[in-house]
């Protein structure tokens, strides 16, 4: 399935995921275990008299500051992993217009070639210009861990860095009506030569 990482960006996203998940698990287990322990230890059977504790400044201070620092690091890693796909790759990228309409995709290349499968060469950045002909859609490549909404009236941009050759699913992730769930197509990553052959063919 999808666990394998086919681009370095996917790897990065997974490591951010892992980072947040591990910290979250520590908190979840900590909170749950402490709660269960207190309910056992201070059960009315064992502890008929409660002790009133109104608060503790330092304790509260600590549990505000530490989580704040932790979430700031999460924010930072998330931002770093986002920035690198937002930067425009410049001249040497391949530009493809991705045209979405209910419920199919069409990819239009600079030489006028059209295809319903997204052919791209491996090792070269691809700039997808997303346009819609009817309502909003969203171009989603789960294996690459990226998506970008296709908004009617604007041209959004999605940049991908294909590496390993192979076929990957492209799904629509913004609800668009009847056959939204069937708006699948493929991203086909081939090596440079194969791509050039395909690209040159009429």
């Amino acid at each position: 399935m999808l666990y394998l990482e086919v681009t370095s960006h996917a790897e990065k996203v997974d490591s951010v995921m892992l980072y947040i998940t591990v910290i979250s698990l520590i908190f979840l287990i900590g909170i749950t275990a402490t709660m269960l322990y207190f309910v056992y230890k201070y059960n009315r059977k064992r502890n008929p008299e409660a002790k009133n504790i109104h608060g503790n400044f330092w304790l509260e201070f600590v549990w505000i500051v530490i989580p704040t620092i932790l979430v700031l690091t999460m924010f930072y890693y998330g931002y770093v992993g986002y920035k690198d796909i937002k930067a425009d790759p410049g001249e040497d990228a391949l530009t493809v217009r991705a045209v979405a309409q209910m419920w199919k995709w069409e990819f239009v290349y600079e030489n006028g070639k059209k295809s319903d499968t997204l052919y791209v060469p491996s090792g070269k950045p691809v700039r997808l210009l997303l346009v819609s002909l009817d309502v909003n859609h969203s171009l989603y490549i789960p294996a690459y861990r990226v998506k970008q909404d296709v908004v009617l009236g604007t041209t959004n941009k999605l940049i991908i860095y294909p590496e390993k050759t192979g076929d990957y699913d492209i799904a629509c992730a913004e609800y668009c009506g009847l056959k939204h769930s069937m708006m699948y197509t493929k991203l086909r990553v081939v090596d440079e030569n194969n791509f050039n052959d395909w690209y040159a063919k009429k």
Partner: protein
């Protein structure tokens, strides 16, 4: 009169009403007694919840296998829209404030009623009007809306289904919410009993008060937005639809400026109830009372500033994305503080983990998962992958259902004896809690995995590799149905056959436990004593109460 000794046996609010007709349905639907209105809401809201659950069961059944199983794609799209609209607008947003807020807010501050009893009745009527409109749309040509509960433009402007009805319904429901909010704010300011300063109010009141402000301030925005779509659809004025010169992303902004704060309308009241229950069953004061009270207000106000985290993939500028991501992480902190404070409140308490307390323990576990997975969605790199997938579906069910929904059940079991004067079977109720936890995890945990593996939401059909996880989730949905049936049946059974409840079955110290179960028409036969501090159990020591 405190501590469970019965007040002079007067008439309860069931025997004495505010209307001319002494009994029958008119004495209920025209009553201005906040308790009767609370019960009217209870019946309506629980009914819609059950309808929402039944629709969800159909959704889950359809998803047991790829392709068409029991309904076609069109029906499926209408079903999840209806499920979302019912659960959000008819169940979880009004939920706790309308039922338990109405019933207990005046009592907990020692008032006879809310500030504007007639307005209160009007809110219930508006609620019902909105609900009836939504239901009517089912039977009109065009059929119920198929846009998802978010009504995103341009789809919602183009579809042939009855969107206007759904929008009008949501618009009217918004007014009901605003009126309730106004009423609560005014009541808290004007009608507190002598001696109850703000910092002597129960945390439930703080939470309801903060929520009421959000209702008053945020709800008009959604009202206007929905009205704008209606205008656009009816008169073809370009507002959101680019073919008419409008901007679809503007709609998303306006929608979430309301709907994110609305998330706090769902969860804040639940948080208030949690503080009450933990204090009562631990017999000690809430750890960091002021911090918990202020964090409600902080959440209410900072919650306005994070709406665009729902739009990270819509084409926001990088700067906007960064700012909203950062603010999202910041707003997570007050919720985390509350969880720590609750657990700390158990420290050195004298804990009697009865049914309501067990519900709260389940809440803390499920809500923590909901909150922590929210961090994954607040982080930009991961959100771009997970946005609009089943990961989000899992996340919001953990927060709304595992959080607010669980506490609806907790509140039901906590205040049931007070509201109805009857006790329920606690053994069966406890079994219900355990079953709920197991069903919930079976139903929703697989959805996190589905989402991370790339299954988008609002999908009628799916790729074969996702089937195993979908099947597990569907089995969880059946378990959930059985659980809910058991829990509801147990309470209905108690209504008819339950033992008489004492005035103070749990040994609580907030004012509702100083009056009879059920309370008299104007809540107290004798003015209650306001304790020196909100959760002062000292005078309870040694006094026999309902606990075994």
């Amino acid at each position: 009169m405190a501590n469970g000794t019965a007040v002079i046996a007067g008439k309860s609010f069931y025997e004495e009403g505010t209307t001319k007709s002494k009994s029958g349905i008119a004495s209920w639907i025209f009553s201005t007694d906040h308790k009767r209105i609370g019960l009217l809401y209870l019946i309506s809201i629980v009914s819609f919840f059950i309808i929402g659950v039944i629709i969800a069961e159909l959704i889950r059944l359809e998803l047991i296998a790829p392709g068409e199983t029991i309904v076609d794609a069109e029906t499926y799209n209408r079903l999840f829209t209806l499920h979302g609209v019912i659960m959000i607008f008819l169940f979880i947003i009004p939920g706790i404030p309308a039922v338990f807020g109405n019933f207990f807010l005046p009592i907990q501050i020692g008032a006879k009623d809310v500030a504007f009893p007639r307005l209160n009745l009007l809110s219930w009527w508006l609620y019902m009007t909105g609900a009836v409109l939504a239901i009517t749309s089912l039977f009109l040509p065009g059929g119920p809306a198929d846009t998802g509960w978010t009504f995103y433009v341009p789809y919602s402007v183009r579809t042939g289904s009855n969107v206007i009805f759904a929008l009008l319904a949501a618009f009217i429901l918004g007014f009901s919410s605003i009126l309730t909010g106004l009423n609560f704010v005014t009541t808290v300011h004007r009608l507190r009993i002598k001696g109850m300063s703000f910092f002597k109010m129960p945390l439930n009141i703080w939470a309801l008060y903060a929520t009421a402000w959000i209702q008053v301030i945020a709800t008009p925005i959604i009202g206007i937005t929905l009205l704008l779509i209606i205008i656009e659809r009816t008169f073809g004025v370009g507002i959101f639809d680019p073919t008419l010169g409008g901007d679809p992303v503007l709609y998303q902004h306006l929608f979430w400026i309301y709907s994110h704060p609305a998330v706090y309308v769902m969860i804040l009241p639940a948080m208030g109830v949690v503080s009450e229950i933990i204090a009562t069953f631990s017999r000690r004061t809430v750890f960091g009372y002021k911090m918990v009270a202020f964090s409600s207000l902080t959440i209410a106000f900072v919650g306005y500033l994070v709406w665009a985290h729902h739009m990270f993939t819509a084409g926001l500028s990088e700067t906007a994305a960064v700012v909203f991501s950062l603010l999202t992480f910041i707003v997570a902190i007050p919720s985390a503080i509350k969880v720590f404070n609750w657990v700390a409140t158990m420290y050195k308490g004298s804990i009697d983990p009865r049914t309501p307390f067990k519900w709260v323990m389940v809440f803390i576990f499920l809500f923590s998962i909901g909150g922590l997975t929210g961090l994954v969605l607040g982080s930009l790199a991961t959100d771009v992958h997970l946005h609009d997938t089943y990961f989000v579906v899992a996340h919001f069910h953990f927060v709304m259902f595992g959080g607010a929904g669980t506490i609806f059940f907790a509140a039901m079991h906590y205040w049931f004896p007070k509201m109805f004067g009857k006790m329920y079977n606690e053994k069966i109720a406890d079994i219900g809690v355990y079953m709920f936890l197991i069903s919930f995890l079976t139903l929703y945990f697989p959805m996190f995995l589905l989402g991370y593996n790339g299954q988008p939401r609002r999908y009628f059909d799916y790729l074969p590799q996702f089937q195993t996880l979908h099947v597990i989730s569907t089995i969880g949905a059946w378990m959930m149905l059985i659980t809910i049936t058991l829990v509801v049946w147990n309470l209905i059974h108690a209504l008819r056959k339950g033992e008489k409840a004492p005035d103070n079955p749990w040994g609580g110290v907030t004012l509702e436990w100083q009056t009879s179960s059920p309370p008299p028409l104007e809540n107290f036969e004798e003015m209650p004593n306001v304790p020196n501090e909100p959760y002062d159990f000292s005078h309870l020591t040694g006094i026999k109460d309902g606990s075994k």
